[in-house]
Subunit: 209 residues, 4 copies
Amino acid sequence: MSSSSLEPALDRREQILGAAMVCFAKRGFHQTSMHDISAEAGISVGLIYRYFENKEAVIAAMADRHKKEIQAVLERARRAPTLLESLEILFTAHCCENSPKVQSAFVVDLYAEASRNPQIADLVRDVLQTAMDGVTDLISRSEEGTTAAHDLKPHELSELIFAVARGMLMRDVLQPQEMTAAERRARQLEVARRLWRLLFQMEIESVYA
Amino acid sequence: MSSSSLEPALDRREQILGAAMVCFAKRGFHQTSMHDISAEAGISVGLIYRYFENKEAVIAAMADRHKKEIQAVLERARRAPTLLESLEILFTAHCCENSPKVQSAFVVDLYAEASRNPQIADLVRDVLQTAMDGVTDLISRSEEGTTAAHDLKPHELSELIFAVARGMLMRDVLQPQEMTAAERRARQLEVARRLWRLLFQMEIESVYA
Amino acid sequence: MSSSSLEPALDRREQILGAAMVCFAKRGFHQTSMHDISAEAGISVGLIYRYFENKEAVIAAMADRHKKEIQAVLERARRAPTLLESLEILFTAHCCENSPKVQSAFVVDLYAEASRNPQIADLVRDVLQTAMDGVTDLISRSEEGTTAAHDLKPHELSELIFAVARGMLMRDVLQPQEMTAAERRARQLEVARRLWRLLFQMEIESVYA
Amino acid sequence: MSSSSLEPALDRREQILGAAMVCFAKRGFHQTSMHDISAEAGISVGLIYRYFENKEAVIAAMADRHKKEIQAVLERARRAPTLLESLEILFTAHCCENSPKVQSAFVVDLYAEASRNPQIADLVRDVLQTAMDGVTDLISRSEEGTTAAHDLKPHELSELIFAVARGMLMRDVLQPQEMTAAERRARQLEVARRLWRLLFQMEIESVYA
DNA sequence: AATGAATGAGGCTTCATTCAT
DNA sequence: CATGAATGAAGCCTCATTCAT
């Protein structure tokens, strides 16, 4: 049932992308060889080429997958009851979910790649814009958003929120490996919440986790 | 006098590092070949090996140079009359000075590299800590710092300030090439100032350029 | 009846060889992949291996098929009423029939292959010998053949005839694609006839097409 | 002296082309690996790429070298006292000189390549045209050329001469390796002379070797 | 001090061939 | 009989590094 006529191909793609993510996060795009990916996926090198035209296509597909993941998170965030909870969902997903450091290293590499690969740049810019628009929208429709400090407009608040999120993610790659994902998450949330509290003039210490 | 026994070597190192910076920013560390660097510097490949043990040593020296630059900026910032002006000096230097996008792409790559090269990670972490400590100190000794919003402590304020700075830098690599350095700088300052105003409960619109 | 136990296999072989001919003529033996052939034949790669042991076997079968075609043409030529008409049949078939340039490219490739593959060399030599013997025989039994210029013997005449035919075929692969098969044929026949006229001291301008 | 500042590069190119010729003749263009060439030349693979952009460039350079050789032969032929001697020089050079079978296999491969590589086709067509024009010219200025059999015009005579030469060359690749270069040459000349005698109505048996 | 020719390991990619379904 | 997913060896090419000059 799970191996119906169309799925194996999709499964393979996912399997390869999963392996690629591990490798990319560990070594970076351009220091990961196709052999690395195939070994991580437990398949032969040649097989990758049945599912991806070349190495760049794997990178592009990874970026695309990242986009879809972000969109899914955004959807989840939209359904949260309060603005605060939405932000926590988004923030947590953005840099802490799944494999902890893995994710961050990959995203930083993705931005590095974007700085020279226009195709990737377009995609990342698109992801970012969509996510920011989503948050801007959430803010607009929330009570807190309309009474923000210093009369900051929703899109300005969103801009600050995302800047800090990216900044935390970037710092994440510097943390020693010894720190657990939980610790990492806790420390980063602390900083983020400090900002939110400031932006929305609220007391949020006790709300979550 | 200028061509004494020790200086040419230092000049050469700087010449090579300058060329390397151009290449690294343009293509990234691992897609820049030694030949690229030698061509950019207008020298032969072999000569690079007289001043650097290998490619990794060039990258490390590069990172070290970045550290020294940041420290110099910090020194300048310390001498500014007000906290605000200090921040502007720091922020502008951090991501806008010199070649605009060039710098950002290099720093993002540096963080990406740090995520897998402990030596680089240590160095970058050190730079960051030094700079943050410097800003924390500046805040502590300033009037505004002691009356910050929500009773945020100096090091917490500093943390937010750097997170946003990194976040803006990261976003920088996505901007289309067409934007001028000045535009880039203006937009980023706008966001940063919005944060500072919030943090220090001040009106700063008209203070600077 | 047509799908008896043995026929489909033969059909398949022919189908595959037909596809192979198209590919070989277009790209050459060693730049044609098994996938190219299977795609051209509209079947799967694996199926080719049910009918041919490997790629070399396909090439060998191809050469064999070429041999059979030449023999068939020789048979037709033998039944022509005059020597001249025999030669025209042979010549036309040799390099112009079917797809025009396609054929030539294949034959040149076949000779190239023969220069390093003894099995192919034997086969091609055999084809050539058979054809030349056939023509020698035709000449011996014709009126013109016995009164040839300069007392050239039938086998010497045959040798010259075939040398020119091969030479024209070789030149054929250089002709720009734009020329039609008809034009090609006309030009080549012109040269060949000039030789025949010379060899057999005859006037043949008006005899044929 | 022989290794002056500019020559080594040229020597290397020649060395590589020499090795390539051996390999190409032995295995054909597309079955010769860059490693084959480097091994034959006694150098490393990478070094080839200092002198040629890629494998195709080696093939193109080989073709170009062939063109220059033919032109040199044509020049020599032009200086011969009689038409007959000119033809012998040309013919001998065309397919027998140097390494005997080596040459032929290479040329047949070159034509095969020309049938699908327009760049090579142009070059080969150019060589052929130049050579044929040269011979046409030789014929025009010779006594025999103006009294040719059947009123054949110089360019028609030239066309036949080259067709036979190509035809003999093509046949050459079928000859068993055991035959010596001298035997090969003798047999081929025999056929060619038979044609020339016919074309120019002359007795030439005893003139040459 | 400086050059750049030379090396060879290693990366990307293709393709003949096999085999489970 | 037929498919096409899978393998892995081998080919092309790049590039960090060395060394004779």
